[in-house]
Symmetry: none
Subunit: 136 residues, 4 copies
DNA sequence: GTGGTCTAGACCACA
DNA sequence: GTGGTCTAGACCACG
């Protein structure tokens, strides 16, 4: 899980996002328990309140559910939901970015070119492994 | 200028963004004065301090400059700078969105499809006039 | 930190300057937290908004960074940056002063003499301790 | 006279400075009248209030004096005073710059080097004529 | 009239 | 507790 305290996106969202990815990747199967708030907090060396907020968000999204006295468990449809919500988030992000670009008066060609560049950069990163940042 | 107080991005940034767009679109030419802080504040019904903060940011970015006792004036290279910074912002947004999508395990096909959808939605909105917000 | 409300240079810049000096002097090490806005405001008996503005400037200059809910922390390269910017400021000041002197028709000898005097005055002040203000 | 409305130093000071230089250079002799506020304002295309403030400052410094109903005239000791005040201004500027540099923790060597650089740059500019800005 | 600084006090999100 | 944004209203220098 990639946590960066200097990142402007809130810590609890970074955590929720990390777990969402883990679910989409199948790291936790439906019915599995996820680490308790206290355990997670200790492991990540982060304030338990922050973990709590991350779990709350996941629960609202239906990815995990609490069973009284037992802890939080992965929902049956969690992996699909995780993928779906990731896709939805991507759509939202793209739509927002394009709307802003259009409002700024950028031409469709410029927008497509920017996407192609970002896309190529992503492929390069994938080929070179996740640790690489720039093309060599 | 589209100002939404419910939007999580700060008001003063929304204002700066709006003027940046106006500059990119050529609404104010180099050497032109932009509306005075007080006038803008009255028109947008927003506190002058907030306008001041927006203008401050534009001045730091070299888009406008202040002449004491006279007002704020558009810099000579303002429109180019505004376009360039808009393009840069788009690239950043796209790269961030794609990185997140990849981290979430989405397939390249899904990503491209999402972009195509967002792109089509943008074109549709353009054809139907700038007032349309939702899919037609 | 030397704050003079009668000084024409804005308070928030004086504050930022003071912290810049402290960073250059190594008073705060990279990774250290700097005093919270509210604490600093209370200590200096100055409005928190003014402190906030000073910190904002330091953050823009890359000397400190904020972590939400935790405070502002010294950047890794802060001390070097602080020194570099101080040196740059000195060069600018000297160049501006010399340009003005030349424009006023002063002779090179007069300029050098003035610098020697200012330099000697500085040495004397250093020998006599930082509290001395006037010529001994 | 070099007037720059984008310059952060107030226009009226730039004007006063320009006249001070003219006096030091002997462009106006003691007893000569200087251009009336209205004439000066029209020639420089500047608000008469601004000229008025510049003349006020020169009068306070004893460089010019008003004779009722006649206008403003150059004082007998004006050229010497102009030179002296320029020298004094230089001393002040240098002392202030050095004090700031010392407060920032710069070493004496660094300060002397910075002065030598500024001095060399000045000489180069002088050799190349007043219009040149950078060494070729 | 203009921009710029400062204070006071409020509310918010985050850890 | 932290930083960040916004409002309200004051005062200043400048043209």
């Amino acid at each position: 899980m990639n946590l960066d305290p200097a990142n402007p996106t809130p810590l609890f969202q970074q955590i929720a996002e990390g777990i969402r990815h883990a679910l989409a990747a199948g790291a936790y199967l439906p019915g599995d328990p996820i680490p308790s708030i206290r355990a997670q907090a200790q492991k990540l060396r982060i304030n338990p309140n922050t973990i709590q907020r991350a779990y709350e968000q996941l629960e609202r999204d239906g990815l995990i559910e609490s069973r009284k006295g037992l802890g939080m468990f992965v929902t049956s449809r969690a992996d699909d939901s995780a993928r779906a919500s990731s896709l939805e988030a991507l759509r939202d992000d793209l739509a927002r970015a394009l709307r802003a670009a259009r409002a700024a008066g950028l031409l469709p060609d410029q927008i497509d070119t920017a996407y192609a560049q970002a896309r190529a950069q992503l492929d390069a990163a994938r080929r070179n492994g996740p640790a690489r940042k720039e093309h060599p």
